[in-house]
Amino acid sequence: MSDGHDHDDHGHGDHDHDHDEPGEGAVPAAALRARAIESLLVEKGVVTAEAIARGVDWLVSRTPTNGARIVARAWVDPAYKQRLLADAKAAAGELGVDAALSPIVVALENTAAVHHLVVCTLCSCYPRALLGPPPAWYKSSAYRSRAVVEPRAVMAEFGTELPAEVEVRVVDSTADIRYIVVPRRPDGTDGWSEEQLAAIVTRDSLVGVVQPVAGEPVAV
């Protein structure tokens, strides 16, 4: 954030909100609309404020850690990987990840020949019931418009450069299916435990903008 703009008089209390909306400092129109709809629904008895709070708590209790565990298991267990590619919700359930409320989830396997990159150009569809809320950049109009037109340039900005022989396959999450990428297991991870592998599977690698890097195994 630049130093040239003082936010202290805006009365937000904290500064962990996004500032990439137009009219920096103002409450975005969409947020105002959501608040107005929420208070009307509560007022009319359609939902309770408690039910909304529980729903939000449940959503943010979903984290990319779920996806990392699923990918790590797929890396060490080929039979599990096949079940994951056939039915990702059921495979998540095997690891105790409750995806019952999720729409259908399809796992896209990255290989030496094909690299998947997920975007939702029409809104911000994301496997929230598995991974929690999407990253802010995933919802930005810049990512949503550019990922389909110039995916390699977008990935390069995340530090990912793929050779021309690799097919970059953009998957636009338009309808009733949600997508999770199963990245390639990096070299240099032979003998790693499932927990050590899960630690290098980042949220962004589950969308396909980056690839996991081996580095040194972390103590887990």
């Binding site: 995916p151 953009v170 636009d172 309808a175 299916i177």
Partner: protein
Amino acid sequence: MTLAPGQRVRVLEGASVGHVRTPTYVKGKHGTVAGSRGSFRNPETLAFGGDGQPARPLYYVGFRQADLWPDYAGPATDTLYLDLYEHWLEEA
């Protein structure tokens, strides 16, 4: 109409009125059916208080990036896939 994997299709060019899940950038473009996703309630009516019936078959359809964007900068083998409802597709 049932579309089998490998079937060439063209995306229809109707106007996007309501909750249409067919992005403008694929309208009029040619692609290839990669698989079926099953049938789902039609979001175009479901989103406006309707029941979304009849359910619409949904297909996973692949396109060559070079067919979508005349100035595509990447290799000719790069692709884009998305899920499209049957009523937005015609055999080509």
